[in-house]
């Protein structure tokens, strides 16, 4: 299970990073979202992966670390707010600058069309 979990997180953050480096705002926003998903998964696993463990600390038996879950909850809320903000910002930039490039310029358009 650990390797599956690690591969999932890794692939997700790689995709997120790739998209963040794109030139248009929409892929960048999607990339940020993917990256934040990957980070949430990663945080969630930091207490160690426990299956069939009790949620509550009962002393000796097998239990799951509750703290990462609290952290993930905080991170999800913050990430959600940030995504909403960056979507609105991207739309505003599209409206004000007249195109959806992160630099606000359409310099390499002709090249992209040929591709």
């Amino acid at each position: 299970m650990e390797s599956l979990y690690a591969i999932t997180t890794g692939v997700m953050s790689a995709c997120g990073l790739f998209l963040i480096l794109r030139g248009r705002t929409f892929p960048v926003v999607v990339g940020l979202t993917l990256l934040s998903y990957a980070v949430n998964l990663f945080l969630f696993s930091m207490g160690g992966l426990t299956t069939d463990g009790a949620v509550i600390l009962d002393g000796f038996a097998d239990y799951a670390d509750p703290l990462p879950q609290a952290l993930v909850l905080t991170a999800i809320v913050i990430g959600f707010a940030m995504t909403a903000f960056v979507v609105i910002l991207a739309m505003r930039a599209r409206g004000d600058l007249g195109n959806d490039h992160v630099d606000g310029r359409q310099t390499d358009d002709s090249r992209e069309e040929h591709r």
Binding site: I20, S36, V39, G47, L71, L97
Partner: protein, 503 residues
């Protein structure tokens, strides 16, 4: 009451911010009065905190009365008290300046401003790594909105870069926090320091990776060389009071580096102590060089000041890179000076820009100004202070930093720091003579300068001579702060009485 004093710098702006957002349709006079009052109260609280902290005792506030390391704590020591006080003083100048009309260009200026203050104060006071992340997010979210206050193409464009970069930075921060939590099993910084001293050798690689990831995040906030490219454009585009408040934002990064790498990765951590040092030293020198080039190349007064912020960041990081109590003491003195003076210069730049009408802050010929003599005098004062010429505070700060360098560090630091000062001097004198002397034809416009604007600029720039006059007491305080930072044992013992002795 006094036991709750530590949380007031967070609660006060929070409540003021909420009330200001609630009454967003109210008259601007009430909002201005309230925002200014809240900031003045914040100064009073910060002064009280500094008095408490100057006794050298480390006090903490356990929220919900959960003892550390289990609960969330706010920790007050000399460094955090100093930073909170500095923020409050800077914020008062910015708020009063904004009352002259900038706050009406968009909506909710004062509410967001107070929330940003809450985030900054929280970041300075928290003793918990995850809460550091949360407060970083609070201050960033407020700063995103403030940066774009008033709108306009330049601001949206700079804002987009700033937001995307910082969101990616937040992800890195979370990964770093996760790694450190996974390796040590705690988020409380003092507790983490204790656990690092006898950590399983298998996990040192993991901890080192987490520590260096944190350095990337803090470096993005502080604007170290490969991570600073967002700064000049964002600072030059932001409204003046916001840009002035942002002068403290890079210092939040500096503070975080100082705090984390002294407390958590101090000498007690064995092979893990100071993983940042080789990086910071060389990167700081590179930052200084690039920033000095940028200062020379800038064709706009605000861009020029933004690059001066970078010069000061490079200087401060060089102080951190030396990692001796002397260097820390020197950099803290320089930090007070540079925060207030760059804040004042940002405000002054906008006043000059408004007076020049169409030419704005670009360094070209423009129309003559009203109050040209006064503005020129203030510009001269600010320029002398920031370029580091005697007799103002910049000179003392730089001399302290130069003196604290060891023999082999002097070889690199002295020429680079002095040459960057020379670059700043050339660029500022060129800017000043273009703005105030070069062939000014036409008639001055009918722009009104309000008393609020004068107050904001004078409040911040007057700090420079005052820092010189009170250099003795300030230096004593920063020396004690540096010593407190160098001995994290007292900090740990105050928070965790039963564990402090082991480390």
């Amino acid at each position: 009451m006094s036991q709750h004093l530590i949380i007031l710098p967070i609660l006060l702006p929070l409540i003021a911010g909420i009330v200001l957002l609630r009454t967003r349709a109210g008259s601007s006079r009430h909002k201005r009065l309230m925002s200014a009052l809240a900031t003045i109260l914040l100064i009073a609280v910060a002064v009280a905190l500094t008095t408490t902290a100057s006794s050298g005792e480390v006090t903490y506030y356990a929220l919900g009365d959960w003892r550390p390391p289990f609960g969330i704590v706010l920790v007050l020591d000399r460094l955090s008290a100093l930073m909170v006080l500095l923020t409050a003083i800077l914020a008062l100048g910015c708020v009063i300046y904004a009352c002259a009309g900038v706050d009406e260009e968009g909506s909710n200026f004062h509410g967001l401003f107070q929330l940003q203050l809450m985030g900054i104060n929280g970041a300075f006071l928290t003793g918990d790594l995850f809460n550091l992340f949360v407060f970083f997010e609070v201050l960033l979210l407020a700063s995103y909105a403030l940066l774009m206050h008033g709108g306009g193409k330049g601001r949206i464009q700079a804002g987009l870069h700033y937001v995307v970069l910082n969101l990616a930075g937040s992800s890195l921060f979370l990964i770093a926090v996760g790694v450190l939590y996974g390796a040590t099993g705690t988020l409380n910084m003092a507790d983490m320091a204790v656990r690092l001293s006898d950590i399983d050798p298998e996990r040192t690689g993991l901890v080192r990776a987490g520590a260096l990831l944190l350095l990337v995040v803090f470096g993005l906030k502080a604007a170290i060389l490969p991570l600073y490219f967002w700064l000049p454009r964002a600072y030059a585009a932001a409204p003046a009071p916001v840009a002035a408040l942002f002068a403290i934002m890079t210092k939040v990064g500096i503070y975080a580096i100082l705090r984390v790498y002294h407390l958590v990765f101090g000498d007690h951590a064995g092979s893990l102590s100071a993983p940042d040092q080789p990086w910071i030293w060389w990167l700081s020198l590179a930052t200084l060089t690039m920033a000095a080039t940028g200062v020379l190349a800038a064709r706009d007064l605000r861009l020029l000041i933004a690059y001066l912020v970078l010069v000061s960041v490079g200087t401060l990081l060089a102080g951190i890179g030396m990692r001796t109590p002397d260097a820390t003491q020197a950099l803290l003195y320089y930090l007070i000076h540079t925060t207030l003076v760059t804040g004042g210069l940002f405000l002054l730049a906008e006043m000059i820009g408004i007076q020049r009408g169409k030419a704005g802050t670009r360094l070209v010929k423009g129309r003559p100004m009203h109050h040209a003599n006064l503005l020129a005098g203030l510009f001269f004062l600010g320029a002398v202070a920031i370029a580091g010429l005697p007799p103002l505070s910049g000179a003392i700060g730089k001399v302290l930093i130069l003196q604290s360098a060891g023999p082999d560090q002097q070889l690199w630091l002295w020429p680079i720091l002095l040459l960057s000062g020379l670059c700043a001097l050339i660029a500022l004198s060129r800017a000043g003579s273009t703005l105030f002397w070069r062939g000014q034809d036409g008639t001055p416009g009918h722009t009104h300068v309000s008393r609020c604007q004068w107050f904001g600029v004078v409040w911040l720039l007057a700090a420079s001579p005052l820092i010189v006059v009170f250099a003795g007491p300030i230096n004593d305080y920063t020396a004690a702060t540096a010593e407190q930072l160098a001995t994290p044992e007292t900090h740990i013992r105050a928070l965790l009485p039963d564990k402090g002795d082991e480390s």
